[in-house]
Symmetry: C2
Subunit: 320 residues, 2 copies
């Protein structure tokens, strides 16, 4: 790892803060974890400042990039809304800059993860790509012409809230039928819970795993059992792969990227999910046979992708 | 109209070729029409060359832009596929250049129409916009950073083939449930025909207008009756406006543009359609209340928008 051109990347999730030093080749060192002080804005901001202080080790000139689940305005000054944290149209960047003592770059966490894959992972060399971060929901990044496409308000790439099933499952965003109600860890957990509730004999391993308690089913449990060979859970992954592939077709119809990168905890966990998504995509893309298929790839950088991308974007900002 | 900086714009539709001289402010003169020699590639190409020859009036140096329904590759050399014409992965631009005797610019017709609205119409001053051309289907243009976003293969903006209703109405693209099966002239015609078939008393005016023959119903007839005040046809327009608004929400989730321009014959005909689409969009956009709404506007340039945009893009190409 080169000691030159280090920058600090911070990824603020709903439950934990992950931070590290990142060099210009995307290598990570000195990783630190903190629990996220949930729903306590001042506490979160102090925790971020402490982590940055710790990593900088006295070198106050390092670029700092912070990725967070939320909508930043186009310039990354204000957080318009954050689903897990309590920021609501607040000048978060300026407050953090005061706490930290110098410039920080504030970006959407899914944009950061997508940027990392573009620079150092599955999307290297691809100027036009889309990255899906499959976790509890669907995070999205759009890279066009080698740059993050942020959109007019800074909120582009909210793929998860495309309505795929009018009148379908209720989404936390207030609508029904959003894509992430069919292709995410939460969706997988909901489907698994229904199977347990139905007392279906095909679900005996899942029922056993959660002591017959549907409330205890999570996407992670379903994924784990599927990987271990449980056919019922494998079917749920396969169903979800179809939804994923359908949504990918829609994105390709709109954006026509060269590559789709599928990441996030769920995307990383299941090759079968990605394979099923690709199969469905190839069956569904409008104009198949008369156009090339965009490549579908599993993300390569794992859970550090968000902090890597945030750190790298901060380095870019500082150079400009 | 300034005589300086004229260029020639040609718009090739399924039934007619429309062409004219266009000045640098987007003003049109000398408009000519030809019937499109359907399914006869050589005939179409000869007709295009004749029209261009006629308009150039001996001045062979004028830039020529040709918009056609079809998928051009990113550089506009080959037509990969055209739904109405018989081009299938053919080097159309080179053949036209031979016929015409100099450089031509070949673009997708919906991209051309969107570009015209961006430069001279409802999207002036808006660097990030989306244009929907509602005709028999849905044509789409994506303008980002003041440029047409063509995508990796040249096929971005195929909004009409996003699946909005999995398992829904069959589409000519081979899938089911494409957006244009719910929000287009064809969709309106199909719904009207079903109303006539049902012999519903609410549809007495529509039944009368087509002599009780469902096969005779078209989107244009439904639109005309709605504008004349027929409540049944107005309901069909309103239903379609809801589908339109839902799809617009999805596009805004992905792209976050500043403006959505709704054009095409159907978009131009019905203010009620556009108003209903906007109402639904404002009810459906994910994150409403925490983000600005993109503006929704009716297109301003009418049926000449395609040729205006093609001519203007040709002028840009020549300047580079």
């Amino acid at each position: 790892m080169s000691s030159a051109n280090l920058s600090i990347g911070v990824d603020i999730g709903g439950t934990k803060i992950l931070a590290a030093l990142v060099d210009e080749a995307g290598n990570v060192s000195g990783q630190v974890h903190r629990d996220t002080p949930n729903h306590d804005v001042a506490g979160i901001e102090r925790a971020i400042a402490e982590v940055i202080h710790e990593l900088s080790g006295g070198n106050e000139g390092l670029p700092v990039g912070i990725g967070a689940a939320g909508w930043m305005d186009r310039k990354g000054r204000n957080v318009l809304f954050s689903p897990h944290l309590s920021w609501r149209n607040e000048p978060v960047r300026d407050r953090l800059m005061k706490l930290v003592g110098h410039e920080v770059t504030l970006v959407n966490d899914a944009d950061a993860a997508g940027w990392a894959e573009h620079r150092f992972g599955a999307g290297q060399g691809e100027s036009d790509m889309v990255c899906l971060t499959l976790g509890t929901g669907i995070g999205g990044a759009v890279i066009l012409g080698g740059q993050v496409h942020r959109g007019k308000s800074g909120i582009a790439g909210e793929f998860g809230h495309q309505v795929m099933v009018p009148g379908g499952h209720r989404c936390a965003c207030g609508n029904r039928g959003c894509w992430e109600q069919y292709a995410s860890g939460n969706a997988l957990g909901r489907e698994g819970a229904e199977l347990v509730r139905s007392k279906s004999p095909v679900a005996f391993r899942l029922r056993e795993a959660v002591g017959d308690n549907p409330e205890a089913v999570t996407g992670a449990i379903v994924t784990k059992l599927a990987i271990e060979g449980d056919p019922a859970c494998a079917d749920l992954i396969s169903d979800m792969g179809e939804w994923l592939g359908l949504g990918i077709s829609n994105l390709v119809s709109v954006l026509d990227p060269g590559t789709i990168v599928i990441g996030g905890g769920l995307g990383a966990a299941s090759k079968e999910l990605v394979a099923k998504a690709e199969e469905t995509y190839r069956r569904t893309l409008s104009g198949r046979g008369y156009r090339p298929f965009a490549k579908i790839s599993q993300a390569q950088l794992g859970p550090a992708s968000g902090l890597i991308g945030a750190a790298d974007l901060a380095r870019f900002n500082q150079q400009q």
